[in-house]
Symmetry: C2
Subunit: 339 residues, 2 copies
DNA sequence: TTGAAAGCGCTACCAT
DNA sequence: ATGGTAGCGCTTTCAA
């Protein structure tokens, strides 16, 4: 009745060999006579023996599992990153586990304390912590994605946020816009901050002074995208263009514009950052700063696996891979300067 | 230079106590004199000692980690289920790892063979396999969600798919529709099959013979929702109503209707299954069969944790929890029977 | 080619 | 209250 797990010992006993020999045939690298190999294989099959990977891991200190830690699993941007990562990892023989931190530092820390955090071979991390210290305490191969903190002690895969925002803003300017609003969230991480300053610089270079009333800063949430768009459009001097600094803010903006009975590209011009379903759906399509989401996961996974296979000796220089963004133009920006 | 991991032994040595005592203070349940406890705690802190959870797990056979295995992590339905599960698990002291199988049986099987699959304490599974055999071979506490196979040997949390489809179809009928189309995918699992038969029964009860040409069966994908909607609307005798049997098929249908320059609730009536962003966005909103997605994750997690804490002795009866659905009516169904 | 045995780092039982 | 020690199931020298 007691359904005792069967172990390597049982196999050895039944085969009249030592556990060492059984271990050898399981791992294949050591040589074993053809006769005994076959015998053992047969018994393994009969007994339906599956080795305890944990015991093995205790000895050779690896688990063949990676993890990807993201702030929220609901955001399509992160699921795309995850998708890219999982695929690469799979081909390299790793299983990937996904962990969502709810953008909460405590939950993030808890993961690293957990069984999981302790036993993965490497981590791709979209971090929530704002202090380099936290990252420096991570002692295993880790790649930071999207959000990067300087002096964190790990390699990173990020995109050119500054340039994305800069290009978007310039595009507005080229089309004759001057009252250009930006809706963003806290500048806790480099990504958001860079986007703001990209906007800022593009404005100044165009000899446009950004009107502080046109900078709406809240959280990186759809509801704030909605709320601020309404506020902007109902203000005394509404903008002619809005730059929505991430995908969900853009979603909120689109909904607000619809509810205000305004028309994108006509009553108000709009550019979003990162693709999102609604921006693709509405007509005219919304121009967005496109970023290679899936590719980010792929690059991160490759860097990570590389690092696991050949641990850098001593203090290798940190690598920061910056992937390019591209302004995907549709018709959500009205040309004000054409007759 | 060799950054050797520090272990319980190091702590014991430094504190002049046995490893047993150190183990005791770590786990707290055995009693230790206040003096030594403090001394040991201090040393643990100084040495920055973190116990190796894997070694502990080898002894007490639990890892405090659960996993939730879903077919695709991009689908908002699954991320909602995951969200519910993770929250409950967290409160109970479990870390949850998310695994996506890409709706591929091989990948699903691979998970169970992996380090992860072997070492979680329990699993919430939206399975991809179609044979009960596969599930019966899973030897740990497992709860099947959404897709349920009879004789699989595990408890389940599912919804009343039949009734959802039945109610939707009835609603069409009550509004005077007779040419009611259904777009669905393969009937590999109970959920999809039940939806079809719910539709079927509602039709027959209403003395309407379902026109085979109005049953479009492809894959459960957005592109098929799109393609079939176009086909239906361009056919000789288009339907007046379409039942889109899952969330992404509904998304495809909405896009197709938009591209055909038709109007929902006017030129064509539409009901979807499960909420989706587009159905919420378009005006008029699309009526959908709402299901308690997050709640499914919550219930599954609770059942799972319960089962882990008190393993059922012998052959307990299997529990299948069926959650209710609700037709969320908006204005996407035209009333044909009003003057 | 194979076996014996020493761990991996921890827990839990049995002593003291 | 504390220590000694036998495992957990496997891998990997070292010998034979």
């Amino acid at each position: 009745m007691t359904n005792k797990e069967i172990t390597i010992k049982d196999v050895a006993k039944r085969a009249n060999v030592s556990v060492a020999t059984v271990s050898r045939v399981m791992n294949g690298r050591d040589r074993v006579s053809d006769a005994t190999r076959k015998k053992i294989l047969k018994i393994i099959d009969e007994l339906n023996f599956v080795p305890n990977t944990m015991a093995a891991s205790m000895v050779n200190k690896k688990t063949n599992m990676l993890s990807v830690v993201v702030p929220e699993i609901q955001n399509p941007f992160y699921t795309a990153v995850i998708g890219g990562m999982v695929e690469i990892a799979k081909h390299a023989g790793f299983v990937t586990l996904v962990v969502s931190t709810n953008d909460d530092e405590v939950e993030e820390a808890a993961f690293f304390e957990s069984f999981l955090g302790k036993n993965v071979d490497g981590i791709v991390l979209v971090g929530t912590h704002k202090d380099a210290e936290f990252y420096r305490n991570i002692r295993k191969p880790t790649i930071l994605v999207d959000r990067y903190i300087n002096d964190c002690g790990h390699d990173g895969v990020i995109i050119d946020n500054f340039r994305g925002a800069y290009d978007a803003t310039k595009h507005f300017v080229e089309c004759g816009h001057e009252r250009i609003a930006i809706i963003d969230g806290a500048h806790d991480y480099n990504d958001g901050k860079d986007r703001y300053w990209g906007y800022h610089q593009a404005m100044h270079e165009s000899r446009l002074t950004p009107d502080p009333k046109l900078h709406k800063q809240g959280k990186w949430l759809e509801e704030d995208g909605y709320r601020f768009t309404v506020e902007l459009m109902q203000s005394e001097q509404p903008p002619t263009a809005i730059f929505a600094a991430n995908n969900v803010i853009c979603t909120g903006a689109i909904k607000a514009i619809r509810d205000l009975n305004l028309h994108i590209g006509e009553d108000i011009s709009l550019i979003g950052f990162d693709e999102n379903e609604l921006a693709q759906f509405v007509r005219p399509r919304v121009t967005v700063v496109g970023r290679p989401t899936r590719e980010m996961g792929i690059q991160a996974a490759e860097m990570l696996i590389q690092k696991i296979k050949e641990p850098p000796k001593g203090q290798a220089k940190l690598k920061k891979m910056i992937l390019d963004v591209e302004l995907m133009k549709f018709d959500s920006v009205k040309k004000l300067n054409e007759s």
